[in-house]
Every structure is written in structure tokens, then in C-alpha cells.
């Protein structure tokens, strides 16, 4: 049960803002509210938050702009965009800039808490993309624990959807998949999260060498062979995490 996590709710709809605050408090979070962007930035500067729920459409300064400034002040703060409106391009922008996720109004609270939990998780968020469900399950079992939170996707389309929902630290990507192959998936992911870190996992290094080469040229982080050497993987993940923490601090 997470405790003392500080959440800032930013929304010009004061009633909704207060409701969210109440709900978060009732769940044990320390919640603050702001009704416009300036106030939000002020609070971020004063207190520092683990998470900001940011309404997109606000007068004076919109949520995306506010988010960018917040990210500037406090890079380690996760920001989840909230919108009553399908302003896809604004949300896409925010995700590319590093917003953790987004939510639509009215809020799906189950999803909200799932997002918050991953956002404030101190270990590494890992997405495993592989059509081999057994491999996915064993990787999930092997990695899940204090240091890793593992999500699964069995095909490329699902993976892209998942990437929109959370800002994963590492994506383990199988190369050979039906429909969208690993490289196509990688490109789709990069379209949403330009800074996504992908590690290619393949049992067909030679067959898929063309695609692997392309992926590595497009900044895929590394390539591992199946069967996966777990020690190697863990050390790789740790190294990635370290680099990321350095970058945000």
C-alpha cells in the first residue's frame, strides 16, 4: 500500500478537482489542487510531487503547456493528462514530451489507480511484447518483484496501445510476430514515445538480421538472443535504469 505519495490535481473545474482530491486522500495519497496552470507550477516549485493529474483544457494556460513547464522544473514527477475532450493531437504531443499517460473524463477510477501505481513505482516499468505467451509469462514471473513491474502484450497493436497508457522504462521486443513485426512495432512505439528504450529479443538473429540491423540503426538499445540469459537481461535493465535516473536528476 503506497503511502505519503504526493499527488497534485490540476483542473479548472473546481468541483471535480475537489472530488478527485477527496478520493485520492481517501486512498491514502496526499493530494493538492490547483485550478490553473500558474498555480500548479507554483505548487510544484514549492512542494514537489510524485504525480500530477493535469486537465488538458484550461483557460489562461492549457494543460500541455503547464505539463511541459512542470516537467522542466521537476523531471522526475510523473504527469497524467486528463481530458473531457478528444483532443488527440494535444495528448499525442504530451506523450511524446514524456507525459506518463492520459485519462478521459468521466474518469475510469480502476484505470486511474492502476496508472498512479505504476507511475509512482520506484523500480523499472517493463513491457514485454511477444506472441509467445509462455515466454511472456516466464519473463513476467522472473522479473516481477521489487525492482520490476512487468506488463505484457502479445502483438504489436496491443503493444502500441500499452505504450500510450504508460511510460515504460524498457520494452522487450520480439522480432518475429504476426501482423506487425518487431521492427514495425518498434517504429509505432517510437512514434508515440520517441525516447522509448527497446531491447530486441530474438531466436532468429540470422533470419531477422535485416530488421534487427534496421532497428539498431534506429536507436534500439540492444539485441538479446533467445533463450534469454536472465542475468544478462537483469544487468542490462539495471544499466538502462541507471542511465535514465542520471538523465532525470
Amino acid at each position: 500500500m503506497p503511502t505519503n505519495k504526493r499527488v497534485l490535481v490540476v483542473d479548472d473545474n473546481e468541483e471535480f478537482c475537489q472530488n478527485l482530491s477527496d478520493i485520492l486522500e481517501s486512498r491514502g495519497y496526499e493530494a493538492s489542487t490547483a485550478h490553473d496552470g500558474f498555480k500548479a507550477i507554483e505548487l510544484v516549485k514549492q512542494k514537489g510531487f510524485d504525480l500530477v493529474l493535469m486537465d488538458v483544457k484550461m483557460p489562461k494556460m492549457d494543460g500541455v503547456e503547464t505539463f511541459k513547464r512542470v516537467k522542466n522544473i521537476s523531471p522526475q514527477t510523473a504527469v497524467v493528462m486528463v481530458s473531457a475532450f478528444s483532443v488527440d493531437n494535444l495528448i499525442r504531443d504530451a506523450l511524446r514530451e514524456g507525459a506518463f499517460s492520459y485519462l478521459r473524463k468521466p474518469i475510469d477510477f480502476d484505470r486511474l489507480f492502476a496508472i498512479i501505481e505504476s507511475a509512482v513505482f520506484k523500480g523499472a516499468l517493463i513491457l514485454v511484447v511477444d506472441d509467445d505467451t509462455d515466454l511472456c509469462a516466464s519473463l513476467s514471473d522472473a522479473l516481477s518483484g521489487k525492482r520490476y513491474l512487468v506488463c505484457l502484450a502479445y502483438d504489436g497493436n496491443t503493444a502500441t496501445q500499452r505504450v500510450k497508457e504508460k511510460d515504460y522504462d524498457v520494452i522487450l521486443l520480439d522480432m518475429k510476430m504476426p501482423m506487425l513485426n518487431g521492427f514495425e512495432t518498434y517504429l509505432a512505439v517510437r512514434d508515440i514515445r520517441p525516447n522509448a528504450v527497446a531491447v530486441i529479443v530474438t531466436g532468429y538473429r540470422h533470419e531477422m538480421s535485416g530488421l534487427i540491423k534496421q532497428a539498431l540503426e534506429h536507436s534500439a538499445y540492444a539485441c538479446l538472443d533467445k533463450p534469454v540469459d536472465m542475468d544478462k537481461l537483469v544487468s542490462l535493465l539495471d544499466r538502462i535504469r541507471e542511465q535514465k535516473n542520471k538523465a532525470t536528476k
Partner: protein, 716 residues
């Protein structure tokens, strides 16, 4: 012979005869002496009488000669000159000579002596010659010298007689000559008259050659261009001539400088008795010839040539030919002129005929053109792709129309339409015709006048009239086109514009509503978490709030989907993938059996993934609801033979009544108690935007099938 008696009387009037008579009658014979004297006198008288008798005989002979018509003048003179000495006392020593111009006729013994007596030969009061009588020697002296006084008179008598004879003979000769010429002229004139063609030249030439006693000749004329044309050559010279190039037309520039061209150019007659050297090779040899131009009014109009007479040509021949030439000149000129006129007339006739033919041809062409253009315009009128009409203003009767107009109004034929159509019953709205007429009268025309028109069988169509009024003729004319389709499109456009406006409106509405709903739902969530373990009814109410919020949210989303649908962002997709995505276990309740009929190979299309997913989702949701959660849903994907891609969803629900098969795609049409029925409208809009078709088939109570056909990916 009274004339002779007369002659004698006159002859002896001056001689002693009178004395004799006197003495014989008055004195008589007195004595012997007297007798002797008488005897002498008788002797003298007898002598004288003998002389006179000789003279008489001479004169008689001469006159006898002159009376002879058949004897020529030369013969007359010849004979006369030989008779003359016999009349003299000593004929053996007497010689005679007649001297005429160019002529001298004498007795064989004639020579000039000192004893000469001469007398002038006079004709028509003019001396034309001389008659001479000479004694060849001295005669015995008579009392009166060599020539008696009587003899002198006798010479005069003979000379006078000769003058008469010559004159007579000359006249005869001239008469004969003119008769001959006349005969030639007549023959020539006859030929000119009776031979109409160029044979004439040959025939005339034949006459001339005969008259001129010549073997060869030429008779030709100068044509309008000045060329010498010699039709006579064809027949008379051709076969003898060896000249290679036989031509009867000699253009002026080819003439050269032989005699005949010179004769023509100089308009003078040239003749020579020397053989010609300038003849072409092979030409018959010309020994002597005359080249004579035929001159009329000082113009050379033709040429006469005669050649190779047996003897030399002389001035006489020239004169004869000249006479013929002059004679020919007038008639040839007339003939040539007539020929020219004839030629011109014929030419004119030909021209006239040509002109007539041209004119006739022109008329024919014009007529054809006129007919063609008339047919063309009639065709244009009848086949025009707009309806064309002419209405009488007074009562609206249709006076003229084309096929399309008739069809437009719902008639099978023009004739039917013309028979029964009337503009006054034409328009749906009552005052349209009067409004149109008013506009026509004000402006003379109407353009794109739109109105609804009732067709013959009652259907109503939209038309656009463009017409012009002809008040004097009492009708209006114009064109009409069926704009029903356009009007429908317009309505569609208006509807879609309305939708777009609604989209903007619904966008901001949705935002406000969602914010409110967010507050409601968050409040409900908070209450729900705080009121755990409390009154169960409170939980139910809180649940109800939550599900109402969800329902409202989905209605808002549908509305937004419908009104704010973007143009599809096309990408190459596999229809199987989309169809399988929307029939996943997260969508289909486990109580519904799912059957997928997908082909092995990809069914490629160009489509917007999200839109298509949304459309299919709505269709699948609809099917599941129709089955009330139990039954079989069959999804089928296939490539059509025509290159299209087809996907169909079949449920085993209640089915759709026939009358509703098309209506189910209309917004807000719903037979369900729940929901407001945007789903299939959204699906149809998506499919429309993808240029596809969607249709529903159903048997009531057995379920329904929705079939979607999309254009295949042409670039595969």
C-alpha cells in the same frame, strides 16, 4: 450582098467610072479615032477594074477571116498579112507587115524598102499598131508612082479592117478569159458553199492547180494566233511528202525565212522559176513556184502557193492567181470570221453549259447542305441532352418539344407529350407558372428557374428552366433539365453541413457534459467507497448513477463520432485483421457462439483502421444486442471476383422487418428500448466515406446479415 454593092459604090465613087458612064450615055461613040481612044480607055478601065477586083477579093478574104470565130487573132493576122500582097498590081514583089505591141506579123519575103506605104491600125480611137506594105523593087513607072491613089486608100481600108478585127478578137479573148475566171470563181464559190469542213481547202486547191496548170500547191489560212494552217496539205501532198514531221499547223515562230513566210509578212507575191533550196529534207522538189499571200483589207489572211508548172511562171500567171486570190480573199475572210464566231459561239455555249452545270451543282450542293444542316439541327434538337420546349403563352399548350423533354415529363414519345401536355398543370406549386411568366415579361428571359414539376404519372421531379419569351409570336421557348439528382445532392450537402455545424456544437457540448459527468461520477465513486457496508440500496443507487454516466458518455461519444467524423486516413490493411479485432472475446460475450469464415490469403483494402474498427464494432454490438446475448455470430471475409473485398456479419437474432431494412442506417432510428441508434449510422457513414456499400438482409425471426463491400486494394 448589099453590103458589097455598097462597098463597091463607095470604092469607085472617085474614079473614072463616073466619067465612063457619062461618056457612054451623053456622048456615045462618035468615031474610030474615038474607037481607038475608047479601046485604050477600055483597056485602062479594064486594068483598073482588075485591080479593083483584086482589092475586092482581098477585102473579102480578110472579112471572111474575121467572120470565122474559131480562128485565133494570130491566125487572122498571119493570114491577113499573106493575103494583102495579092491585092497589089505586082503581088510577087509586094510584102506586108503588121506591127502590134509585142507582136510583129509579116510575109516571108518582107523587108523594108523605100517603096513603102503604111497605115495606122486604130482600135477604139487609139492607134494600136501599124500596117505596112512594101514593094521589093522599083515598079514600072506608072502615072502615079508606085502606089496608086486607090492603093493607098486600100491600105487604109485594110488597116481599118484590121483594127476592127483585133478589137473584136481582143474582146472575144477578154470575154473568154473572164468566162474562164468566172467559171473558176464559180467553182471555188461552189466549193466554199458546199464543203463546210477543211476538205474545202483541198478541193479549192485542186481547182487552182488546174487553172494554174501547176502540179503542186498550198492553200492555207492564218488562224487567230497568226499560225499558218494548211488543211489542203493533208490530201494532196501528204503521201508524196517525205518530211518527217507532218504538221498542218505552222506556228509563226517556226516559219523561218523561205519565200512563203516572206510573202505573208510582206504581203507581196513572190515567184521564182529557180528550184527552191529552202525546202525541208524529204520535201518534194520545187522547181518553180509562186507564193502569194491572200490579203483582205490589207491583212494577210492566208496563203496560196502553186508550183512545178511545166513552163516558167510569168506575169500572166501572177495575174491569174492574183484574180483568184482576190476572189478567195473575201470569201475566205468571211469563212474564217464565221469559223471564229462559230468557235466563240461554241466556246460560249460550252461556257454557258459549264456555268449552268456549275450552277446546278451549286444548287444541288446548297440543297444538300441545307438538308444536312436542317437534319443536323433537327437531330440536335431531338437528341439534345436537355429538354427543349415551346409553350403558348395564352393557355400553356405545348407547341413543340424534343424527345428528352417528353421523357422528362414522363411520356413515352414526343407525339404523346405534344398531344396532351400543358404547362398550366405542369408545376406542383400553384403560382409557379404565373411567377415565371411575370419574370419573363419583365426581363424577356429566365435563367435556371428552379421548380418542382409533376410528371405524367404523378412523380415529382425538380427541374431548372431557362427560357425566353417571344411576345409577338405568343410563345415561350427554352430548355429544361432534370435537377432532381442535384437537388438531392444539395440536400445531402445541406444535411452534412448541418451535421458539421452540429459537430462543432456537439464538441463543446460534449466537453461541458463530460466535465459535469466527471464530477457526478467522481462524487458517486467517493460516496461508494465511503459508504461500504451501509444500506444496500445506497450502493444500488450509486451503481445506477455510475451506469447512467457510462450510458450518457457513450451517447456523447457516438454523437461525436457521427458529427465529427474525419476523412479516412487510408492505409493498406488486411480486412481479416480488422474483422478479427472486433470479434475478440473482450467484445463478444461468452454466451454467443462465434464463427469466423476467413480466407487463407490476405484480403487487402485501403482503409482507415480506426474508423473501420469503429464501424464494425457498432455492427457487432448491434448484432449481439439483437440476439439478446445468445445465438451465433458469423463473420465472413472474402475477396470478390470483381476485386472488391466483402465482410459480412450474420446474427441469429430477431431479424429486421422488410420495411425497416433501409431505415436502420438512419440516425436516431432504433427499435430498441435502450440506446438512441447511432451505431449503424456511424457504420454507414464510415463505409460511405470509404466508397463502399453496406446493406442489410434479413428474414424476420431468423436473424439478419449486414454485408459490407469495400474497394479492393488496387496496388497489391
Amino acid at each position: 450582098m448589099p453590103k458589097k454593092t455598097e462597098f463597091f459604090k463607095s470604092r469607085f465613087k472617085n474614079c473614072d467610072a463616073k466619067k465612063v458612064e457619062d461618056s457612054g450615055t451623053t456622048k456615045g461613040i462618035d468615031s474610030l479615032e474615038d474607037c481607038t481612044g475608047i479601046k485604050d480607055r477600055i483597056a485602062t478601065l479594064t486594068r483598073a477594074l482588075t485591080e479593083r477586083e483584086k482589092e475586092l477579093n482581098c477585102i473579102y478574104s480578110i472579112s471572111k477571116l474575121t467572120a470565122d470565130k474559131d480562128i485565133s487573132l494570130e491566125d487572122v493576122l498571119e493570114k491577113t498579112v499573106n493575103i494583102i500582097p495579092s491585092a497589089w498590081q505586082y503581088p510577087e514583089v509586094t510584102a506586108a507587115r503588121i506591127i502590134l505591141p509585142e507582136q510583129e506579123i509579116k510575109t516571108p519575103n518582107f523587108k523594108e524598102t523605100e517603096w513603102k506605104e503604111s497605115s495606122d491600125i486604130v482600135s477604139q480611137g487609139r492607134q494600136i499598131g501599124t500596117l505596112e506594105v512594101c514593094y521589093l523593087g522599083k515598079m514600072p513607072d506608072s502615072d502615079e508612082g508606085p502606089f496608086l491613089k486607090e492603093a493607098r486608100e486600100f491600105i487604109n481600108q485594110i488597116a481599118e479592117q484590121l483594127g476592127l478585127v483585133i478589137e473584136h478578137k481582143k474582146e472575144m479573148e477578154a470575154l473568154r478569159q473572164s468566162q474562164r475566171e468566172l467559171a473558176i470563181h464559180n467553182r471555188i464559190a461552189q466549193i466554199f458553199l458546199t464543203v463546210p469542213d477543211d476538205e474545202m481547202y483541198g478541193e479549192v486547191l485542186a481547182v487552182i492547180l488546174e487553172a494554174m496548170q501547176s502540179k503542186y500547191g498550198v492553200f492555207g489560212y492564218l488562224d487567230e494566233d497568226g499560225a499558218l494552217v494548211v488543211p489542203s496539205m493533208t490530201r494532196h501532198i501528204w503521201d508524196k511528202c517525205r518530211v518527217a514531221q507532218k504538221n498542218i499547223v505552222f506556228p509563226r515562230e517556226t516559219w523561218g525565212n523561205s519565200t512563203w513566210p516572206r510573202a505573208i509578212r510582206q504581203k507581196t507575191t513572190i515567184y521564182t522559176n529557180e528550184p527552191s533550196k529552202l525546202v525541208p529534207e524529204g520535201h518534194i522538189p520545187i522547181l518553180r513556184h509562186i507564193s502569194m499571200p491572200i490579203v483582205y483589207r490589207e491583212e494577210a489572211i492566208g496563203l496560196l502557193q502553186v508550183a512545178n508548172k511545166e513552163t516558167d511562171y510569168d506575169e500572166h500567171d501572177i495575174r491569174s492567181l492574183q484574180v483568184i486570190s482576190e476572189h478567195i480573199a473575201t470569201i475566205l475572210d468571211a469563212r474564217l470570221k464565221r469559223a471564229i464566231q462559230e468557235k466563240q459561239r461554241r466556246k460560249a455555249e460550252v461556257n454557258l453549259r459549264n456555268h449552268q452545270e456549275q450552277l446546278a451543282e451549286l444548287v444541288r450542293q446548297w440543297t444538300t447542305q441545307l438538308q444536312e444542316s436542317e437534319a443536323k439541327y433537327r437531330n440536335l434538337f431531338n437528341n439534345a441532352q436537355v429538354g427543349l420546349f415551346r409553350f403558348r403563352i395564352a393557355d400553356g399548350k405545348l407547341l413543340e418539344c424534343n424527345d428528352l423533354y417528353a421523357r422528362l415529363i414522363g411520356y413515352d414519345s414526343r407525339e404523346e407529350c405534344l398531344a396532351s401536355h400543358n404547362a398550366s398543370e405542369h408545376y406542383v406549386a400553384p403560382n409557379v407558372r404565373s411567377k415565371m411568366l411575370r419574370e419573363l415579361q419583365e426581363n424577356g428571359e429566365v435563367r435556371n428557374f428552379e421548380a418542382q414539376v409533376r410528371q405524367r404519372r404523378g412523380s415529382i421531379i425538380w427541374v431548372s428552366d431557362t427560357a425566353r419569351i417571344y411576345p409577338r409570336e405568343g410563345y415561350i421557348e427554352g430548355a429544361v433539365s432534370d435537377i432532381t439528382e442535384r437537388k438531392k445532392l444539395q440536400e445531402k450537402l445541406i444535411a452534412s453541413e448541418r451535421l458539421a455545424t452540429m459537430g462543432q456544437f456537439s464538441g463543446s457540448m460534449a466537453h461541458e457534459l463530460r466535465n459535469s459527468l466527471a464530477t457526478i461520477s467522481s462524487s458517486a465513486y467517493y460516496l461508494k467507497s465511503k459508504l461500504t457496508g451501509g444500506d444496500e440500496k445506497i450502493q444500488t443507487h450509486l451503481e445506477r448513477i455510475k451506469s447512467s454516466v457510462d450510458g450518457t458518455t457513450s451517447i456523447i461519444q457516438s454523437l461525436l463520432n457521427l458529427t465529427r467524423m474525419k476523412e479516412p486516413a487510408l492505409a493498406k490493411l488486411d480486412l481479416r485483421e480488422i474483422a478479427s479485432g472486433v470479434t475478440g472475446s473482450d467484445v463478444i460475450p461468452s454466451t454467443v457462439r462465434l464463427v469466423r469464415n476467413f480466407p487463407e490469403q490476405a484480403v487487402e483494402i485501403n482503409a482507415d483502421r480506426e474508423q473501420l474498427r469503429m464501424a464494425f464494432r457498432n455492427i457487432v454490438d448491434n448484432a449481439v444486442q439483437a440476439m439478446e446475448g445468445k445465438g451465433t455470430l458469423t463473420a465472413t471475409v472474402r475477396n470478390m471476383p470483381d476485386g472488391k473485398a466483402e465482410v459480412s456479419f450474420t446474427d441469429t437474432g430477431t431479424g429486421i422487418p422488410k420495411e425497416n431494412l433501409e431505415k436502420i442506417f438512419e440516425p436516431l432510428f432504433s427499435t430498441k428500448a435502450k440506446g438512441i441508434g447511432f451505431g449503424l449510422s456511424i457504420a454507414k457513414m464510415v463505409i460511405d466515406k470509404h466508397s463502399g456499400t453496406i446493406e442489410a438482409q434479413s428474414e424476420l425471426g431468423k436473424g439478419a446479415t449486414l454485408i459490407i463491400r469495400l474497394p479492393g486494394n488496387l496496388n497489391k
